[in-house]
């Protein structure tokens, strides 16, 4: 069991000439392996900042992040051990893979950095990873990113995240740049892998529907503050906070008649 605690974290950026921007304001949550938290909010609410702090690309201005009770080390072997346990899947499948390198290279690097398998077993492990994300190794292993479709790229990104056998996964809007028709496939893959590996997942999204489908708990973020959190169904079906209510009302529902949505008069009949 791995427990990640995000404890009263605040993150402020200083902007030249415009003072300060508070990206996160006193945010706290706990992520346990085997559990999925959905982090919901609109653009600019601070979701990506949380992801960056978790992957140590940024450091909190105040507050602390702890893994299994220990604060995350800033450097050295401790940081390396932390990085092996928490991995991220990025939003943009086009940008998160290096256009110059093959799929094989992308998967071999984390294996070698964390000494997951001995040199001789690298090729087999790469193939195993590809098969787990349901890609045919013989077809994709020597391809470059531009020779793959968006969905295939995202699967490679997921495989790369799983290479080091992490306990926790941060998925930063993993399907929002994919075609709607293949989103469910990738999400189902994530759900299967999560179950097989017992991963704790922080699923960051702006889409309430997939958040509810995918997560045990949901946290709603508005301008850097957590305005509501709780079990997924509770938050979606019985939202307490006005912002959450507005978010839910703004989600398009093909079953609803235009005119019956509150606040819209004279809709198209």
């Amino acid at each position: 069991m791995t427990v990640l605690e995000f404890d009263r974290v605040t993150k402020t950026y200083a902007v030249r000439g415009a003072g300060h921007i508070k990206a996160l304001d006193d945010v706290s949550f706990t992520l346990t392996s085997g559990q999925t938290i959905g982090l919901v909010g609109q653009s600019g609410s601070g979701k990506s900042t949380i992801a960056k702090i978790l992957t140590q690309l940024e450091t909190p201005t105040s507050g602390q992040v702890r893994l299994d009770g220990e604060p995350i080390p800033r450097r050295g072997a401790g940081l390396r051990a932390y990085r092996q346990k928490l991995r991220m899947v990025f939003q943009d499948p086009f940008a998160s893979l290096n256009p110059y390198h093959s799929v094989r290279y992308h998967l071999e690097r984390p294996l070698r950095l964390d000494d997951v398998v001995p040199r001789a077993g690298l090729d087999d492990e790469v193939r195993r990873l590809l098969e787990r994300v349901r890609l045919d190794p013989d077809v994709v292993i020597d391809r470059r990113p531009h020779e793959l479709s968006g969905g295939q790229r995202q699967r490679v990104a997921i495989a790369r995240a799983l290479a080091s056998r992490p306990r926790l996964l941060v998925a930063d809007e993993p399907v929002s740049m994919l075609d709607v028709s293949i989103r469910l496939g990738v999400l189902n893959l994530l759900a299967d892998l999560r179950r097989e590996e017992g991963l704790g997942v922080l699923y960051i999204t702006h889409d309430l529907a997939t958040a509810r489908h995918f997560s045990d708990e949901i946290m709603v973020l508005n301008q850097g503050r957590v305005v509501e959190s709780g079990p997924a169904d509770d938050v979606i079906l019985r939202p307490q906070d006005p912002y959450t209510r507005a978010l839910r009302a703004a989600s398009p529902d093909p079953e609803t008649h235009f005119a019956s949505v509150s606040g819209v008069d004279g809709g198209v009949r």
């Binding site: 950026y13 902007v15 030249r16 000439g17 415009a18 921007i21 600019g44 609410s45 601070g46 301008q223």
Partner: protein, 357 residues
């Protein structure tokens, strides 16, 4: 020259790493912070140029420089002192003291005396030559930039047409060395066709004055050098502008403008060219240094009495004080031109104004 990268949007937001910037209204239309930053940079560059000028003669073999002074006995004592400070012969003082004295001299406007020109003050010699260079370079560069940019916009607009052939032609002309083009020009137009005189800015025996005849002679003598500079530098402007146009024409806002039904000429000039020209202005500022280099050579080829020829004559005669002085003046002029280009850019690009907020 590879295509220039388009500018990143509001730098601060990208650096801050977050999209959570609140829109702040701009306070004024004059981009003070941008200009102040550039001014600081130019002051730093000026300091660097002066320091280079200070260091250079001190790296030369000492006897060469003291020979220089001993060659000329009738230098006045004050002038001799100034020369010693300028050329690094005052080795009885500490380096720091020398540096300070050097700056004092410069700020007083004393650049020493020119041995090549009968011990006249260097500042006087240079100020006689400078207007010729500024006139020639300024005129030729402006014409070349204008023709090249407009031409590049048209070639980019009419992509795929026969105009595309202009690009390799002008680029070929740009790879020909300036001086060879000038010499060919002389060989063809002056020697063979006798349309233009072989060199100099005005006829032998004439004295500079504001008469119609003199002005006519200036234009007559100046045409060949100016045209040569224009032809040689046209290619670079045209290519850069055309590449930027092709990139801009792919942008969505151009498609929107066309779909709105705006006339082609308006889309071409007010939308596409207006945005494509911004990097051109940047590269114009940067290339002023190169233009100056080309002009120096041109002046030698045509015996044009500008600062370039002054520098070359001084180099050949080892007139170190004059060499230093000309280098300083040239650098100063390049800096001023850069500042003007930066001011123009700041007012033309609304994004620089916005980062003031």
């Amino acid at each position: 020259m590879t295509a220039v990268q388009p500018q990143l949007p509001t730098e601060d937001a990208v650096e801050a790493g977050t999209t959570a910037t609140t829109a702040v209204r701009g306070r004024s239309r004059v981009p003070w912070r941008f200009l102040a930053g550039r001014a600081a940079f130019y002051l730093f560059t000026l300091w660097a140029a002066v320091t280079i000028n200070f260091v250079l003669p001190r790296m030369m073999k000492g006897d060469a420089v003291s020979q220089y002074l001993s060659r000329n006995r009738n230098v006045s004592p004050e002038a001799a002192d100034a020369l010693r400070s300028l050329l690094g012969l005052d080795t009885d003082k500490t380096l720091v003291q020398q540096y300070v004295d050097y700056w004092v001299l410069l700020l007083r406007g004393d650049l020493g005396v020119s041995l090549l020109h009968g011990l006249r003050p260097v500042t006087e010699v240079i100020s006689q030559a400078l207007p010729w260079t500024v006139g020639l370079v300024g005129f030729a560069t402006v014409v070349s930039f204008a023709v090249g940019t407009v031409g590049g916009a048209v070639v980019g607009w009419r992509r795929g047409s026969r105009l595309d052939a202009l690009i390799p032609v002008t680029t070929f002309l740009a790879t020909i060395p300036y001086f060879w083009l000038g010499l060919l020009g002389i060989a063809l137009f002056s020697v063979n066709l006798r349309w233009f005189p072989i060199g100099k800015a005005y006829g032998v025996g004439m004295r500079p004055e504001w008469s119609a005849e003199f002005v006519g002679q200036v234009i007559h003598h100046g045409t060949l050098p100016a045209v040569t500079i224009v032809i040689a530098s046209l290619g670079g402007w045209m290519l850069g502008m055309r590449n930027m146009m092709l990139t801009v024409l792919d942008e969505d806002y151009v498609t929107v403008a066309q779909a709105k039904g705006l006339p082609n000429s308006r889309v071409l000039w007010r939308y596409a060219a207006r945005n494509a020209v911004l990097p051109q202005i940047q590269s114009f500022a940067l290339s002023i240094g190169f233009i100056v280099g080309g002009t120096i050579v041109m002046e030698m080829v045509f015996s044009y009495p500008g600062v370039g020829k002054l520098l070359l004559d001084a180099t050949n005669a080892k007139d170190y004080a004059l060499m230093q002085g000309v280098f300083l003046v040239i650098t100063l002029s390049v800096l001023v031109a850069n500042i003007l280009a930066d001011v123009a850019y700041a007012f033309l690009d609304p994004r620089t104004r916005q980062t003031e907020a």
